[in-house]
């Protein structure tokens, strides 16, 4: 356990007569692991909802295979869900679990190495059959051969107890067995004093057309809870007090949910109808699902025949005056490249959401990575600049979506919003904003309705001198007929032009327009509490949590470090070069092989030290703390000469 002061705060007499104690903890990391058919993600999400409504701060890490149902009981089929919750604010799903629940031998084998010695291990003993053991290569049953002695192992016949509890449910064995995840959830809910009403309501809602299934799941859930209360196997339950949070209304939210709601809010606050053109792809599909629910907001969602049609339809909708959006993941961005360049050439507003996953090619569809930054920046033919932004946490996906809309509409440009698998599926408590407090985007919508030329003609490429945006004249507007397209356009008139000077001018103008966005984004946000740090750590996207947690540890050790986290990746904040120059050493942790570091080095000639991993998982805070600490300790205050190793690890 990671409690700083595990204190026995209460004792209660269980029905069996023995005394059960309650230990207060400040934080716990639980990992639920099972077969992909065991419902671990659902169980994790329910436990998260209970925890959120209880008022703990939390962070989650779902981790599942790309196969919907890999062969039962095998290592590739293991699915897990890690939840970190605490009585104070936390930034990551936890480096390692304190508690591991393993529903079968495969789940044990795949996850045991992550459970520190002394950690609590709960296993479903029913599943440790010779056949299941053999499937994953256990020669002997680890529950019996003493190999689990380093952990507090509690072996519970979860499956058979679930079957016992549902003996009168009328369900067959196979069907009844499927409720073992709810039995487990009940047990954990007892162990951690979670409120249970929400889960009961959820099950009733989820299975309202199958009341017998709802009843069985609720019965299993209650049986698990009661088992915890009465069994001697668990003598201790744990209390994690609610975390102090700013007053207000909260909900639990995942990144994909927050991003979807941000798009709805952007549409509502700009007055523009939202059009989403999307092709299903992991891990972005949930945005399509979520937006499809909100037709009452006038949102049109179009499931296209392919990735190209997804973006092409969005461009068509933008031409017609909608806020065109397309959502995808890395391989989809590759397919959209040509159409993205068309949106750059035609200078239409467009939001492209890339929920990054492990690459290249099909890569790791369900695992996280942030390796599409350079693709977002440069992955097109020609000089094709566009705006790139990234959210830092699941809840922040909401604000990032609104910011993407602001830039897209104001500057008539595609904006690439780089989320990732960790943000998309991870969840955290989110302070629900009031709609009226959100940015008012109506001022950014300025459809051209009158000719702008000296001779009463309409010039579709006569720009706003401040933003360099061209007029957005939508079909249906009388007297403004014009033609746009992918061929180079003459300045002002928009006629086809192959003139060398014009192409040079237009290329530089498109770049200047994107660069000019920096004027609207404010200075770099630097977290340097004492102001005398010599080392800065810079990141972008979902590494915010792990970097922040690492920075906290370093500061707790008495060292100084500045944290810089970028929302805007193209353009960078105008003062970023100056800011970086203030520090003797700059570390850049990324879940790629150093893409932001490459950009920073190229643009600012700063000797950025790249620290990278591409394991499909978020960084561990402890690892980052160690890296930062090493750099601080090796920096005696004087700037080091250029790193002869090229800044690698």
């Amino acid at each position: 356990m990671t409690a700083t002061d595990p204190a026995v705060t209460a004792g209660s007499s269980a029905p069996g007569g023995f005394v059960k104690s309650v230990v207060e903890l400040d934080r716990v990391v639980i990992r639920l692991a099972g077969d992909s058919g065991d419902g671990m993600q659902l169980t994790g999400n329910r436990f998260t909802s209970e925890t959120a409504s209880f008022g703990n701060d939390l962070s989650t890490l779902p981790n599942f295979p790309a196969e919907i149902r890999a062969p039962t009981g095998t290592l590739p089929g293991v699915s897990s869900f890690q939840l970190h919750f605490a009585d104070h604010d936390i930034m990551t799903p936890g480096d390692a679990p304190d508690v591991l629940v393993a529903m079968n031998p495969a789940a044990l084998k795949a996850n045991l190495a992550d459970l520190p010695g002394g950690g609590l291990l709960i296993v479903d003993s029913d599943e440790f059959t010779p056949r299941n053991l053999a499937k994953v290569g256990y020669a002997a049953n680890p529950l019996e051969d003493g190999s689990l002695e380093s952990w507090q192992t509690v072996s519970v016949p979860l499956t058979s107890m679930t079957l016992d509890a549902l003996a009168d449910s009328g369900l067959g064995k196979k069907e009844a067995e499927r409720s073992k995840n709810m039995f487990t959830l009940g047990l954990l809910s007892w162990m951690y004093h979670r409120p249970t009403e929400g889960t009961v309501r959820f099950l009733e809602r989820q299975f309202r057309r199958k009341p017998e299934i709802a009843a069985a799941n609720i019965a299993a859930f209650r049986a698990g809870y009661n088992y915890g209360e009465t069994t001697e196997a668990f003598a201790v339950s744990y209390e994690i007090k609610p975390a102090p949070m700013a007053p207000g209304k909260y909900r639990n939210i995942s990144g994909n949910q927050a991003l979807s709601l941000g798009l709805v809010a952007a549409a509502k606050r700009s007055g523009l109808p939202l059009f989403l053109g999307a092709y299903p792809i992991t891990p972005a599909s949930d945005i399509l699902h979520e937006l499809s629910k909100h037709k009452a907001f006038g949102i049109r969602t179009f499931q296209a025949e392919d990735e190209i049609a997804g973006i092409a339809s969005a461009i068509g909708a933008s031409f017609g005056g909608a806020l065109g959006v397309t959502t995808t993941s890395g391989p989809g961005v590759s397919l959209k490249s040509e159409a993205l360049a068309l949106a750059i050439m035609t200078e239409l507003p467009l939001i492209v959401v890339d929920v990054q996953r492990g690459g290249p090619s099909t890569g790791l569809p369900t695992k996280t990575e942030q390796s599409d930054l350079l693709q977002a920046m440069f992955g097109r033919n020609g000089e094709a600049p566009l705006a790139v932004i990234a959210p830092r946490s699941p809840g922040d996906c909401f604000d990032a979506a609104i910011e993407a809309a602001r830039i897209a509409i104001t500057y008539r440009t595609p904006v690439m919003l780089l989320s990732d698998g960790y943000l998309a599926n991870g969840a955290e408590p989110w302070a629900v904003p009031a709609a009226e407090d959100l940015p008012d985007l109506t001022g950014t919508v300025d459809f051209a309705t009158e000719p702008n030329g000296e001779d009463g003609e309409f010039l579709p490429y006569l720009r706003d001198p401040e933003t360099l945006a061209r007029p957005w004249a939508i079909p249906g507007t009388a007297g403004m007929q014009h033609r746009i397209g992918g061929l180079e356009k003459a300045d002002r008139t928009g006629n086809i032009s192959y003139d060398p000077e014009n192409h040079d001018f237009m290329t530089r103008t498109r770049q200047a327009k994107i660069d000019g966005i920096a004027a609207s984004i404010g200075p770099t946000d630097v977290d340097d509490p004492t102001g005398d740090a010599k080392v800065a750590v810079i990141g972008w996207g979902s590494t915010y949590g792990p970097i922040g947690a690492g920075v906290r540890r370093v500061r707790r050790s008495g060292r100084q470090v500045a944290q810089i986290h970028l929302r805007h990746l193209n353009p960078f904040p105008a003062d970023l070069g100056e800011v970086l120059a203030r520090y003797d050493r700059v570390i850049c942790p990324e879940m790629n092989l150093g893409q932001l570091a490459l950009l920073l080095r190229a643009k600012y000639l700063v000797d950025v030290q790249s620290h990278t991993q591409v394991r499909g998982l978020p960084f561990r805070a402890a690892e980052l703390a160690a890296v930062i600490q090493d750099v601080i300790d090796s920096t005696s205050g004087a700037p080091l000469a250029a790193d002869p190793t090229g800044g690698g690890e």
Partner: protein, 367 residues
């Protein structure tokens, strides 16, 4: 924007910026003009097709017949892909987008779905729509979005200087196929009918009357309309349609499709179309069959197998080519159905942003 007043002037109870912009333009430019002439659809852009190209004839035909549709220029959008034909939008005084290779149907779909008030057209070629853009074409057709697709088929790649296309006949000798092409061509009409198209027609570039007639029906059709236009490329595939254009052979080998009329063609009506023994159609000599056996053309048949059978009468050398409207049936359009779903959702739900931001499960932390 200072458009709100105009909106109220027109009695349009909306704050939608799209409607507001349209209303504003109408108030400054006058009411929408629908009494137009062919010249009103011309632009100041120099037309840059090769002299003698069939595209000129089609452009003129379109510009001449458009005024009769009564659509304001600003309410019309022409989207094209890449290829010679795809330069079309530049020469039309409407809204237009000359997009990227093969993607015009997808762009037009997004536009037509979000703006059902517009008349959206796609101009494409055989390479653009049947090779690189084949996927978008078939999906546009099966969805039945309200767009009109003009497919200029010259059976060659012109803009890239003369490679064989997906409609070129087998054995076509071109720069990329010096020993003759190996792949079998698409019959665009068969493909469209197979893709559940609700309107499919075919016309010849040089036949102003026939072309105009098919175009008019296509324009008036609700849903995706595909018109295959045989278009001569006088540089890389000259004379590709001479068999059908020649006054003598043309009569012999084209089958004019007129709804409600018996399918009799050829000099003196010597040939006709009858049913074969396998559920399809075949050509017969009129004097060898009973008049009751001659098929009477029915473009409105719900079942597409008849229209498909018609499309299979022609061979790749263009003998027995039906010209006119193969199929024209009414089916709900995608854009309308989506608009209806939005109306239902709006009637049943609300657009209260605060409500969805909060969701179903919230908790409150008090001070």
């Amino acid at each position: 924007m200072s458009t709100t007043d105009h909106v109220h002037d027109l009695g349009m109870p909306t704050s939608n910026p799209i409607d507001a912009a349209i209303a504003a333009s109408v108030s400054t430019q006058g009411e929408k003009q629908t009494a137009l002439k062919a010249k009103d659809f011309k632009t100041d852009q120099e037309v840059r097709w090769c002299p003698g190209c069939g595209d000129y004839v089609i452009l003129n035909a379109v510009q001449s017949f458009l005024p009769s549709l009564g659509i304001a220029r600003e309410d019309m959008v022409i989207v094209s892909g890449i290829g010679c034909s795809s330069r079309f939008p530049y020469y039309m005084n409407t809204y237009g987008m000359h997009s990227i290779h093969g993607r015009a149907p997808a762009i037009a779909t997004g536009l037509a779905v979000s703006r059902p008030d517009l008349s959206v057209w796609v101009v494409t070629g055989d390479g653009d729509s049947l090779s690189i853009g084949g996927n978008h074409l078939i999906h546009a057709l099966r969805r039945n979005v309200n767009i009109t697709i003009l497919l200029f088929n010259n059976r060659i790649y012109g803009l890239t200087k003369g490679q064989y296309s997906p409609t070129s006949e087998v054995g076509k000798v071109t720069k990329s196929t010096p020993m003759g092409s190996l792949d079998h061509p698409f019959n665009p009409v068969s493909l469209a009918i197979g893709a559940e198209a609700t309107f499919v027609g075919r016309a010849m570039d040089s036949d102003r009357k026939g072309l105009t007639d098919v175009l008019r029906q296509a324009a008036e059709h609700q849903g995706t309309a595909l018109v295959e236009i045989y278009q001569n490329c006088n540089i890389f595939n000259d004379g590709a349609f001479d068999l059908l254009k020649d006054p003598t052979t043309g009569t012999q080998w084209s089958i004019p499709l007129v709804h409600g009329e018996p399918l009799v063609f050829g000099p003196d009506g010597a040939a006709c179309v009858v049913r074969d023994d396998f559920g399809g159609l075949r050509i017969a000599e009129t004097n060898q069959v009973d008049a009751s056996q001659i098929v009477v053309h029915d473009a409105h048949r719900e079942d597409s197998s008849y229209a498909y059978a018609l499309s299979r009468l022609s061979s790749q050398d263009l003998r027995y080519t039906p010209m006119g409207v193969f199929r024209s049936v009414q089916k709900a359009t995608y854009d309308r159905m989506m608009a209806e779903q939005l109306d239902v959702a709006a009637a049943q739900g609300s657009d209260d942003l605060d409500a969805i931001l909060g969701g179903n499960d919230t908790w409150t932390v008090s001070a």
